[in-house]
């Protein structure tokens, strides 16, 4: 059954994009979008249940495979893809009634959104490394026009930086994958199936120096796409200028696809090149990213840029978790990816509601939200506490696992630095949102238009997940995460 399930899963967003392109009335666009993403979610959960049960669904030989590591990313793409699609309906409908966008733009938006989700699903499902690269590089190409959606000067600047820097990064990663192919040639002969399962079977016999070179190239290249410092400079621009539902996908989901490209290369090269050396590189990039992000978090005046820098911090933390190398930290990093996806998309939904109402991104211009938009204020406050890693939320669990895992692995310096950075980052995140929610309402209270309730639904869904995961990680999810962690720290 899984033989047909995977192709169907990939066909759904493409079919939705085609229908969207042909359809005219907004209601049809919304219906198609919602239906497509419900279907994707249902199919993905069916497939993931199989993976947890011990199956390895595949299609077209080894071109498309679903394993635990890809499964974590698939889970993120399907769930956050669904909430973002629903949020898009409310958000863009508001923009349409406010005449901020036209009907043609609406159609373009939804068509691109579906193709964007397709490229991310393909990244999670690609078993062949060439296909994996194509899918990850493709996510940029499809999402750059979405970053430029509003078409004024700033989004355009952001989109241009985004596409140039991440495409250059992807090319470096391709260089890495080609060197990895060459490493395989030493063992498997000049022509072989460049898939994850074939290479991982011979991974310990690859030439060490070539394998290490391949990993470093992929780390630097896709590191640029995953927002690791110092290749992160495009990220705060792109992740703040795009429409809010797109920001949720860029920050919450797309970064994880690039991280998957790095982790796959890590799993294949570590046995030959020595896991210790490669982990050191991951730790270095991870700690540097967190450091840079926290410095910019502290001085930030724009709430969407604040969230964007927080994404750099969180991806840095994922790199640290994998770099620490002990199972506790690595499975913490996997949980971190899931948690970050939900809490960051939640925050972009909540701040998106503010944007629709007040049309400003300046932290200083928003005040007294508990009086003005109580439903959104609750989202913001609970969401920012969750994102910053306050107990009892799930990010506290994953951050604690990563830091204590690093300590268990005797990586004392990274553990201490990361703990300190997380503390500073916590304050830098919570303080501004706290002020926006609770400070006295400004004289201009009541201005702006009311926002339709559809924008609250996906945000509250995410909130339920974020709160729920803090108390209880369902055992299938736990099995998925620890299975993925075993690939990276056997």
């Amino acid at each position: 059954m899984s033989q047909t399930l995977i192709p169907v899963l990939l066909a759904v967003p493409l079919a939705a994009a085609a229908v969207t392109w042909l359809a005219r009335p907004p209601a049809v666009l919304y219906a198609v979008g919602a239906a497509a993403h419900v279907t994707i979610l249902a199919l993905a959960i069916t497939l993931l249940t199989g993976v947890v049960g011990g199956a390895e669904p595949h299609a077209f030989g080894r071109w498309l495979v679903l394993d635990h590591l890809g499964g974590v990313v698939l889970l993120i793409v399907a769930t956050v893809g669904f909430t973002s699609a629903v949020y898009s309906i409310g958000y863009l409908h508001h923009e349409l009634t406010e005449r901020a966008v036209g009907r043609g733009e609406l159609r373009r938006y939804f068509a691109l959104l579906h193709v964007f989700v397709f490229t991310m699903l393909l990244s999670a499902l690609a078993g062949n490394l060439g296909l994996l690269w194509t899918a990850i590089a493709g996510t940029t190409i499809v999402s750059a026009p979405l970053v430029d959606f509003y078409g004024s000067r700033e989004p355009l600047e952001a989109a241009w930086k985004y596409i140039v820097l991440t495409t250059a990064g992807s090319m470096v990663a391709l260089l890495g994958y080609l060197v990895l192919y060459q490493a395989g040639v030493h063992v498997l002969g000049v022509s072989y199936d460049f898939s994850f399962s074939v290479l991982s079977a011979v991974a310990p016999r690859l030439p060490a120096a070539t394998a290490a070179t391949a990993f470093l190239l992929v780390l630097v290249g896709f590191g640029a796409k995953a927002g690791l410092a110092p290749m992160h400079t495009w990220l705060p621009d792109a992740h703040s200028q795009a429409p809010s539902p797109v920001c949720a996908l860029l920050s919450g989901v797309e970064l994880n696809c690039a991280m998957l490209g790095i982790l796959r290369a890590f799993a294949l090269t570590a046995p030959a090149a020595g896991a210790g050396r490669l982990r050191l590189a991951l730790l270095a990039f991870g700690v540097l990213s967190m450091l840079v992000a926290v410095v910019f978090l502290v001085s930030q005046r724009d709430f969407k840029r604040l969230l964007a820098y927080s994404s750099i911090e969180q991806m840095g933390l994922v790199a640290v978790g994998v770099g620490a190398g002990v199972p506790l930290a690595v499975s913490g990093a996997m949980l971190q990816m899931v948690n970050h996806a939900f809490s960051k998309s939640l925050m972009f939904f909540a701040t998106g509601n503010l944007l629709l109402r007040f049309r400003t991104r300046a932290i200083g211009s928003v005040a007294g939200l508990v009086h003005d938009m109580p439903a959104t204020a609750i989202l913001l406050i609970v969401g920012v506490l969750a994102l910053a890693g306050a107990p009892p939320f799930s990010l506290f669990v994953s951050e604690f696992s990563i830091v204590s895992g690093a300590a268990v692995a005797h990586q004392w310096a990274p553990a201490l630095i990361v703990a300190a950075l997380l503390a500073v980052g916590f304050l830098a995140l919570v303080w501004p949102f706290n002020r926006m929610a609770f400070s006295a309402p400004p004289g201009s209270a009541g201005q702006g238009t009311t926002v339709n309730p559809i924008v609250l639904l996906p945000a509250y869904l995410s909130l339920v997940v974020v709160v729920g995961l803090g108390f209880w990680v369902p055992s299938p999810l736990h099995a998925l995460l620890s299975g993925a962690a075993r690939t990276l720290a056997p």
Binding site: G130, I141, R153, E154, E157, V164, T167, L174, V185, T210
Partner: protein, 215 residues
């Protein structure tokens, strides 16, 4: 046969220098088209050598997509939006660009010597050329202020990667090559679209004027 492929690889490298010093966008597009023809010829030679059919397909698609289609799209874009005869600006002047470019080429050959290579179709000198072309492409994308020039820089780097793919992974299945071509084509179109928007919104394609986003 060895000699032919080395000469062709040399032509690919020389074409990169053409792009490095080109002042006008149209000249850069012509340089890219010329380089792509040379690359298609390399594919053709390796096909004749090895008889692997997917190399012939690659030669044909390189010629069709990279030597003809993308340059045609770019020329049209340039005609419609950018003043194609206008001289573009550099962050790095031509003499220093040439000097740095030569340094990067040497670096490419040095790196190639470090990589233990199982020779399939092409040898180490071509590997050196391909790494040099990738580095030069990135350099062009960085050193130019004009968005259209930055795009040609990335396209050149991608040509270098294709040549590198021929050296390191000629056994890769054809579907992978097609996926890469699709990425290049769609990527070039999207970037062209953004360049056109830039011309509309900002009034020029000089990226040094895009400095509103900071902090």
């Amino acid at each position: 046969m060895d000699l032919t492929e080395y000469v062709l690889a040399g032509v690919v490298l020389l074409a990169t220098f053409w792009l490095l010093i080109a002042r006008r966008i149209r000249a850069a597009v012509n340089g890219y088209s010329f380089q792509s023809w040379a690359l298609a010829a390399v594919c053709l030679v390796t096909f004749l050598q090895s008889g692997r059919w997917h190399l012939l397909v690659m030669a044909l698609s390189t010629a069709a997509i990279k030597a003809l289609l993308i340059p045609a799209v770019l020329r049209r874009l340039v005609r419609e939006t950018v003043y194609d005869r206008r001289e573009t600006r550099y962050y790095v002047g031509v003499p220093s660009a040439l000097l740095l470019g030569t340094g990067l080429s040497v670096a490419g050959f040095v790196v190639a010597r470090q990589l233990p290579l199982v020779r399939d179709l092409l040898g180490e000198p071509v590997l050196g050329v391909s790494i040099a072309v990738v580095l030069l492409g990135f350099f062009i994308a960085l050193a130019r202020r004009d968005a259209a020039m930055q795009l040609t820089g990335l396209l050149v780097a991608e040509n270098g990667l294709l040549l590198l793919g021929l050296v390191l992974g000629a056994g890769l299945p054809m579907l992978v090559d097609f996926a890469l071509f699709l990425d290049v084509l769609v990527g070039a179109v999207v970037m062209g679209f953004l360049i056109a928007r830039m011309h509309e919104t900002v009034g020029s394609t000089d990226t040094s004027e895009l400095t509103r986003l900071r902090g």
